[in-house]
């Protein structure tokens, strides 16, 4: 019985993870020139999070990059990302789609 419960829980969990992954939209890798401190990173994240459709923002200060994941059915264009980084006071140095 215990085994059956475990299997059922595992199936439910994997279904939830798969659903969440499928529900996420495309992700983009943004290179930010000038990013050099944690406080500045938060300023950039705030501007990017304010864009419609953004689901998640993950910064790597060492790499000077931000991965922006969009909600399902939305997309991010380079001009919008560039404006957000500029409004935070920094410079967009690269913009590539990182995954679907």
């Amino acid at each position: 019985m215990k085994t059956l419960v475990r299997i059922a829980l595992a199936v439910l969990a994997s279904t939830w993870v798969a659903t969440a992954a499928l529900a996420a939209g495309p992700s983009y890798r943004i290179e930010v020139a000038g990013l050099a401190c944690p406080f500045c990173a938060y300023g950039i994240e705030k501007e990017l999070n304010a864009i419609d459709g953004v689901e998640r923002v993950e910064t790597s200060i060492r790499e000077g990059t931000v991965i922006v994941t969009m909600k399902d059915g939305t997309a991010l264009d380079e001009a919008t990302a560039k404006r957000a980084v500029k409004d935070a006071g920094f410079t967009l140095n690269g913009f590539t789609q990182a995954g679907q």
Binding site: E31, P38, G43, K46, E47, I61, R62, D87, G89, N93
Partner: protein, 293 residues
């Protein structure tokens, strides 16, 4: 009282920044930044028979707003508590003082040069503004009107300006500021104009190696503040017991996270070339925090 001006030297930006003056790092468009700094200042090395001992405690709240990523507006309204102990010519030890809001400062800072590179940036940003007579400048105690330097406010409208240069990398940050404040006359008294040259080095102590994400940074800080103040004028005449040049060296620590910063620094006078019996500083201690919202 030159020392008081130095002790009240204001760091305004809420970025990783110097603790005794400003930085050229940006305030995001439409964003507010907040900073609160508490300070304690003491000056007791009095060459005169009055054996004066001045204590100043206060807080310096700063608000900043990014109109654009290049143009930021700042407002500062300090709260000051001043107490001066001295010996009268008759040999009696007395204490005089006051507390209340000091003179507010408002100014604009504009980034005229910006070079962003991977993991580093360089900026030049001039600023200009005004110190407003918001502090009480006609306070009295049981002995009568307080001397002007002991008032919370100056009563005068004082323009100020300067330029800040910042070079920031992942490992360290260097800031430098040149600033001038032209003090004007009020109540028959005019504080001497102030010239400042400030420098700061912040070096990342922890983490030694950067990992993934955005870790908190612990910076070791060393700052230097050179302050020259012209002589005060009383009734249009120079006060020989005022003005002079001071140099402070200031070690400190600063912990920076994505959303907040805590910091502390001690300003130690290493050179004091003052006019007449102007009171020499002992130290100034600053403790503060900043928030990003």
């Amino acid at each position: 009282m030159v020392a008081l001006a130095a002790a009240a030297g204001v760091a305004t930006d809420a970025r990783a920044a110097p603790q005794t003056f400003n930085t050229a790092l940006p305030v995001g468009k439409g964003n507010f930044v907040f900073r609160e700094q508490f300070f304690a200042f003491e000056a007791s090395d009095d060459p005169s028979p009055a054996d004066r001992d001045l204590n100043v405690r206060g807080s310096i709240p700063v608000r900043g707003y990014g109109v654009t990523s290049d143009l930021a507006l700042f407002g500062i309204l300090p709260w000051l508590g001043k107490e001066l102990d001295l010996t009268t010519p008759g040999g009696q030890r007395i204490s005089r003082g006051t507390n209340g809001f000091g003179d507010a400062q408002i100014f604009a800072r504009y980034t005229v040069f910006q070079k962003d590179m991977r993991g580093s940036n360089f900026r030049i940003a001039p600023f200009a503004g005004l110190e407003l007579p918001t502090g009480e400048d006609d306070d009295h105690d049981s002995l009568g009107r307080l001397p002007q330097p002991l008032q919370s406010g100056s009563g005068s409208w004082d323009p100020l300006g300067g330029v800040i240069v910042t070079w920031q990398t992942l490992d360290y940050q260097i800031d430098a500021q040149l600033a001038y404040k032209a003090n004007t006359q009020a109540n028959g008294f005019e504080f001497g104009d102030e010239f400042r040259f400030d420098t700061s080095l912040q070096y990342r102590l922890l983490p030694r190696e950067l990992g993934p994400g955005v870790p908190g940074f612990l910076y070791g800080v060393i700052e230097a503040n050179l302050l020259h103040q012209a002589k005060d004028k009383i009734g249009g005449f120079n006060d020989p017991n005022s003005g002079g040049t001071r140099l402070y060296l200031s070690p400190g620590l600063q912990y920076v996270t994505r959303k907040w910063i805590v910091e502390a620094i001690v300003q130690i006078p290493v050179v004091q070339d003052l006019g007449g019996t102007a009171l020499e500083d002992d130290y100034a201690l600053r403790v503060g925090f900043r928030g990003n919202f």
